[in-house]
């Protein structure tokens, strides 16, 4: 059965003449430490088409966050290069949206001002973006909380604010680094549903880092499995489910079959290490 999924899905990037929206070309990250060189990412090589939701799934310490930092231009690569939308990544870009593991909201700003923070930094007129901020906050059910301070919100609510902030400047590429890993299981399901809804509406290209198999399968069009030592992308699995995605989907045999397959692949990675 594994083989069936594997052959049906792995390496299934669509074959077209147009250059891919994003290409990660033989990228490597090595940190020089006092104890010698540490390979954070041994080798990453893949492409992403426009509008695709790609989850990078792996155990902690496999280098998946480092990979995202390099794609986002927050960390330089040690070797190889990353191109997005025809240009090589040299630093953070205005057409990217970033969502980190912690909501990282400014505690002294209101929910609304936090969402509008990227616009303020770009010297944009926040008034022009008020409608969009309203639309986003209404979608995640937080418009009524717009004047609250982050400390008055729950962890899940704060992370929803962070998602709105990541989407406020209408980014072409959304980079999410384990955005829900600090939440409890119930809020997490909630957030997955909220993100899936946002996805159906805005349909961005996205890189989603996670160590939750179910989350990856539920949200993504494609799951890249990353292993530890060596830190490489061991499997590239296409997720065949239709959109819009529904929570009930998680109870189907096919869903669980794919989850099981991915879990075994992750375990194989462990055994090799």
């Amino acid at each position: 059965m594994d083989a069936a999924i594997s052959t049906a899905v792995s390496g299934a990037a669509p074959v077209t003449d147009a250059p891919p929206y994003m290409s990660v070309q033989r990228v490597q990250k090595i940190y020089e430490t006092a104890g010698g060189a540490v390979e954070a990412v041994s080798l990453a090589d893949f492409t992403v088409t426009s509008g695709e939701f790609v989850a990078v799934l792996g155990p902690s310490g496999c280098g998946k966050s480092t990979l995202m930092m390099m794609i986002g231009g927050l960390e330089p690569t040690s070797a190889g290069r990353i191109r997005v939308d025809g240009a090589e990544i040299t630093g953070p870009r205005a057409d990217f949206g970033y969502i980190f593991q912690d909501a990282t909201l400014l505690p002294w700003k209101s929910v609304l001002d936090n969402v509008l923070f990227p616009i303020k930094l770009e010297h944009g007129r926040t008034r022009d973006h008020l409608e969009r901020a309203r639309e986003l906050l209404e979608l995640v059910g937080l418009w009524d909380f717009r004047d609250k301070r982050p400390r008055q919100l729950s962890g899940g609510m704060r992370q929803r604010v962070a998602i709105c902030r990541g989407l406020i400047n209408d980014p072409k590429l959304l980079l999410m680094d384990e955005p829900f890993s600090a939440l409890d299981a119930i809020s997490r399901d909630d957030m997955n549903a909220a993100l899936a809804d946002l996805w159906d509406r805005y349909h961005k290209t996205a890189i989603f880092i996670t160590h939750s198999i179910r989350e990856a399968v539920y949200l993504a069009d494609r799951v890249l499995v990353m292993s530890r030592r060596p830190s490489v992308i061991s499997h590239d699995v296409r997720i065949p489910f239709q959109r819009p995605r529904r929570m009930a989907m998680q109870e189907t045999a096919e869903f669980n079959e794919i989850c099981g397959f991915l879990r075994r692949k992750i375990e194989e990675g462990y055994q090799r290490a």
Binding site: G72, L74, G91, P92, R93, A94, F96, Y98, F100, D102, T104, L106, P107, W108, K109, S110, F117, P118, K120, L121, E122, R149
Partner: protein, 269 residues
Amino acid sequence: MTATSDGARKKPLLPTGVLAGYLRQILLPVAAALVVLVAWEVSVRVLNVSPVLLPPPSMILERLQELFFPLLLKHAIPTMWESVIAFLISSALGIALAGFLSSSTLLREAFYPNVVLFQLIPKIALAPLFIVWLGIGSQSRLAFSVFISFFPVVIATLAGLDNVDRDLLRLCRALRASEWQTFREVRLPHAIPYVFSGMKIATTFAIIGVIVGEFITSQAGLGYLILFASAQAETALILAAILVLCAFGLVFYGLVAIAETVTRTRFGA
């Protein structure tokens, strides 16, 4: 013996509850102070201590009433005025220097250890130097007061500016914020509580600076009056002047605390 037995639940000594809690916070220290004052009054009278050595509190209050207007007030005004000006200068200077030092790693690495080392100098010993440099006018007192009161502001502000959550700084980087934007939008608001804790210490230091300056050279001010009164063996007047100084220090500190509350509700930090 454990408190689990039935009879162990004693009635509290003082009433409990929210209002009572506030009252306790005010009444208890006041009561404690009153006890000390009464003990002082009684023991001085009973032991027949000379008022030159230690006058009873009632005598100090009497002197305060007699001499507050115009003598004590006349001398209090220049002291208060100079303390406030010195405090304002040292706060502005301290925040600016901290901002400057935090703007580059090179600057901070070069100067911060020196600032800390400088703080270890017994700065009061340098007071006469300021008179050599700036003469016997109010400039030397002001300069000395600024000199000793701005260190706490620098150190506290620097701590606040540097202590920012690394995730927030990464967010700023991701959003391509300039150094100045990061400073204004993240570092400075984060530092506000720290800045105020430094400024609260600075109020006390500014007063100390002015008083020491007045001890060394002046024709007016509470420091001058204290020195003058001690030459006359007017112990009650010395203590009355100190009482005025305490009241001023309390109000000064209180005003800064209010400014902090206002700023923090504004920025919500």
